[in-house]
Symmetry: C2
Subunit: 121 residues, 2 copies
């Protein structure tokens, strides 16, 4: 399952609060704290298969919601636009150093950079 860690982390970030407490717990131990199924099973005194079932069910539920709503996909489509803004403003900053040396232009570039960064939070 762990070959899908990035996707699972995104799903959890969006839809994790829709899971049961136990699903959340196991999910986090497995993906965030990188415990193995056997380690989680041992800590909770249940079978490895039992842990696996909980995590697989959580994944299936979040995948089903994403397939319907497409919200993770929608959010992720923002990234290249934000990067393009950052790249363009970086070039303006360089031009300003080289050619214009304008204080107000530097401030405006700084604003754009900060606002773009805020979009990535």
């Amino acid at each position: 399952m762990k070959n899908q860690t990035f996707r699972m982390t995104m799903l959890f970030d969006f839809y994790g609060e829709l899971l049961t407490e136990r699903q959340k717990e196991f999910y986090q131990l497995y993906y965030d704290e990188d415990l193995s199924l056997s380690e989680i099973a041992e800590n909770y005194g249940i079978s490895r298969q039992g842990v696996r079932d909980v995590i697989v069910r959580a994944e299936a539920y979040m995948t089903e919601i994403e397939d319907k709503t497409g919200l993770v996909k929608r959010f992720m489509q923002f990234a290249p636009h934000v990067e393009a803004i950052e790249s363009a403003v970086g070039e303006i900053v360089q031009m300003n150093h080289r050619l214009f040396e304008d204080k107000r232009l530097a401030e405006l570039c700084d604003t754009i950079g900060k606002e773009a960064a805020a979009l990535k939070e």
Copy 2:
């Protein structure tokens, strides 16, 4: 219910695909096509209260999901950042007209403007 139309439209935009076909249908007739509960009831041959129940249940379900995930809220927090970028780039465009008259700077501003616009789609 219609005093909450903006909020309901946002909820539907995000979570509408999680509703049943009937919920979706009534929701759209009521909020998007602005039919009254009685009009919908008449078209479907059911009681006004029956239509109301379907819509209220759909709203409650989507509100519950939003209360847990906060995704509409998260998306809506993007808007002021995008507006700040657009405002700053607008000022750079003006400065460029007035002071620098630089073709490459104009292109970069154009890029930033377009990428910011794409974030609002």
